[in-house]
């Protein structure tokens, strides 16, 4: 677990190395989404594109919208449980070529939702270090 606390209130990140070319991994992400996220899942890899996931891992359906798409490099989207749109978060998927194939790095953050929540507050500033300290206290 790697909580990121700089300009973000909470983020989870993880990664995996896959022995396939980056082009193949990208194709699996956006063309074969249903084969690994859940039957019928689709991601339209363009800004504003629809995200629809029948998530076998969480057992929920999730809707979303693509924020950024750079073929073979990066896919970023907001998503939320269909039944709980207030619980939106942002997923960033980065693909990096490595000697043995491709490293896939996933980061999911609450940043976008927080930014939206705070949009009416022009003086919003995140002070990650203090929050990180508070979070550490909570774990004690």
């Amino acid at each position: 677990m790697m909580p990121l606390m700089s300009n973000e209130i909470a983020a989870a990140t993880t990664d995996v190395a896959i022995e396939r070319h980056t082009d193949d991994v990208w194709s699996a992400l956006v063309d074969e989404t249903g084969d690994w996220l859940g039957d019928g899942s689709t991601i339209e890899p363009a800004v504003g594109g629809a995200v629809r996931v029948n998530d076998v891992v969480s057992g929920t359906t999730r809707d979303g919208v693509v924020r950024e798409s750079r073929t073979g490099e990066l896919l970023e989207f907001d998503w939320w449980p269909t039944q709980s749109p207030d619980d939106a978060s942002t997923v960033t998927i980065e693909l990096t070529p490595i000697e043995t194939g491709t490293r896939v790095i996933i980061t999911e953050t609450a940043t976008r939702r927080l930014a939206a929540s705070a949009s009416a507050h022009a003086n919003m500033q995140w002070r990650g270090a203090m929050f990180s300290a508070a979070l550490s206290m909570a774990r004690v």
């Binding site: 909470a10 999911e108 927080l114 705070a118």
Partner: protein, 103 residues
């Protein structure tokens, strides 16, 4: 809205976060004192404190004519739990992606 979302939302305002940080730093404080530190009105500070109390991030006690507020960090465990859950879910999804691509 999940518990973690309530915590996120409660801290999504700069002044509210600053108040929470001040309380976390270890001192109980009144709305008047916090308002002075942040250069906001006492009413605004009291409103922020009320929202922090509602979210379980602060508690209050009456001392004479004053109301003292202090931080409560237990809800931050919800944030920690959210991170752990999300990471675990992505580990499972990435495992499925890897199997799909390598089988």
């Amino acid at each position: 809205m999940s518990d973690a979302s309530r915590t996120f939302s409660a801290l999504a305002d700069g002044n509210r976060l600053a108040i929470f940080e001040s309380l976390v730093s270890g001192r109980a404080a009144t709305a008047t004192l916090l308002a002075g530190d942040l250069n906001i009105s006492r009413q605004a500070a009291a409103k922020h404190l009320g929202l922090l109390v509602d979210a379980g991030l602060a508690s209050s006690i009456r001392v004479g004519r004053e109301t003292l507020y202090r931080s409560e960090v237990a809800p931050l465990a919800d944030v920690s739990s959210w991170i752990a859950t999300v990471e675990s879910q992505w580990n499972d999804r990435l495992a499925a992606l890897k199997i799909h691509l390598t089988n």
